[in-house]
């Protein structure tokens, strides 16, 4: 499974790589990282990713905009998009859902919960 993680925080890469080091080692999950919505779109032009985890609050293109672009670009089958945000409020949740987000996670990210969710997608 190929996962693209989009966040403006660079340390997110180290965190994911360590959190998923077993999965990376046994080859069950491959990660790609993008540090802005624009980077993510550029990456998706040349590559395919099954799951995209995106932060909502980023300078420039926001996670929600990225979400709407992705859901427009890939008509069939659109990749699974999970939104991650520091704001766990209902309004954010609803907006993300409306735009087609498949799931919604809040920061700090519970990686055990995330892994559970990934298993279900598998």
């Amino acid at each position: 499974m190929k996962i693209l993680v989009v966040d403006d925080e660079k340390d997110i890469q180290t965190l994911f790589e360590q959190r998923f080091r077993k999965e990376i080692r046994d080859g069950s999950i491959q990660f790609a990282f993008a540090f802005s919505g624009e980077d993510a779109l550029a990456y998706l032009n040349g590559h395919e990713a099954v799951l995209i985890l995106s932060d909502i609050n980023m300078p420039g293109m926001s996670g929600l905009e990225l979400l709407s672009h992705i859901k427009h670009m890939y008509l069939k089958p659109p990749p699974v998009v999970m939104m991650i945000t520091a704001y766990g409020d209902a309004e954010n949740f609803n907006t993300a859902k409306q735009l087609g987000a498949d799931d919604f996670l809040t920061k700090p990210v519970d990686f055990n919960l995330l892994k559970e969710k990934l298993k279900l997608i598998h």
Binding site: D11, L15, P59, G60, E65, S68, H72, A86, Y87, K107
Partner: protein, 468 residues
Amino acid sequence: MFLELLLALFIFRYLRRSPQAAHLLPKWNKYFQVGMILSIGLLALSFAAPAKLISGWLADLILLALLYVAWTRKEFQPLKSMTYAVMPIILLASISDLVKLISKSFYNDYDNYFQTAQLFAVIWLIALWMMTKKQRKALEIERQKALEKEKQYAISESMKAALEVQVAERTAALTAQKEELQQTVNELKSTQAQLIQSEKMASLGELTAGIAHEIQNPLNFVNNFSEVNTELIAEMKDALDKGDLEEAKAIAADINANEQKINHHGKRADAIVKGMLQHSRSSSGQKEPTDINALADEYLRLAYHGLRAKDKMFNATMKTEFDESIKEVKVIPQDMGRVILNLITNAFYAVAERKKMLAASKEGTAADASVPNEYIPTVTVSTKKMGNKILICVKDNGNGIPAQVLDKIFQPFFTTKPTGEGTGLGLSMSYDIVTKSHGGELKVETKENKGLPGEESGTVFTIQIPAQ
């Protein structure tokens, strides 16, 4: 004889009728009346020969008595000049009568002289009479003038009194008004203090969402890296048990790197909380050496995330151009932070407005949603050291400020935001903080968007403070 009695009659008449003698009447009228009746009686008697002598003497006595009274009584003082006119006749008549009584022959011998003297006395009387009459007239005119003046004086006095009453009334009214105004000013002052507090709270509210985001991000790392480390330590133990020292060392290096990240993000959260506390705390008013670049960067992030929390679809490009040669500058950090936050919030508001406007105008043309807008909302915060001055610029590419409101933007309570969204105190407070507390200047340059395609517009606010 006739002459004396006629004179007496005339004098009594004069005393009872003349305005100059009017003041004597209450006390003397009855004497004047008696004198007059007496004189008339004597005049009648004088036609009878035997009484002639007595009536002549009585006439002399009456006249002498009159003279005496006029000379000795104070109240007759104003009539004294009249006595000079009649005195020669009276005295001459009395003397000639006396001479007649003592020596009739002597009188007869010098009859001519007495007659002449009498004639002169009469002329004297008439002349003096005329003169006093003339003087009287002049005096009367003077008196009338004086009376007129007195009247005018009285009028002006009464007017003065009326005016004084009016002045007193007005003064009382003005004093009451002044007190009322003073009270209004006091009320306004307390309202202003409350508004300043609520402005602080409003900007704190704007910050809260930003702060939540800013804290959750470091916490995400702190929590997860520490959990990772727990796992790594277990793995390291396994590796050591297996005797795989290489693996154990590699894991230890990872743990160490993670520990540093935990520390870094912990400090980041700490700085954010401190900044928030600093913002909500009332200003100490103390200038402290402050890293202006860090202050500007911190508030830029907070303002951005705050706005982002409120408006999900909002986004903007943040640019920073910091002059690294600026070390620490002495400012009141809470206050200067508030100014920077206010300018940045305004800048974000301006670019958001322009984006909304463009989106609204494009709605009808059914633009492809996947194509990003060519308008990139951008807010740039830059610092610069120029000689002994520090410049902090907040630039946006929004719609600019219309010329007709440009000179009002620093006025308290002026706002272009919809009711309830802005207190209208942000810029006026900022202006006071920069100019009064820091001896600096707050300037604005703007280019209004006139709606022409491809036209550049936007606003730059520049804080200029002394470097020392």
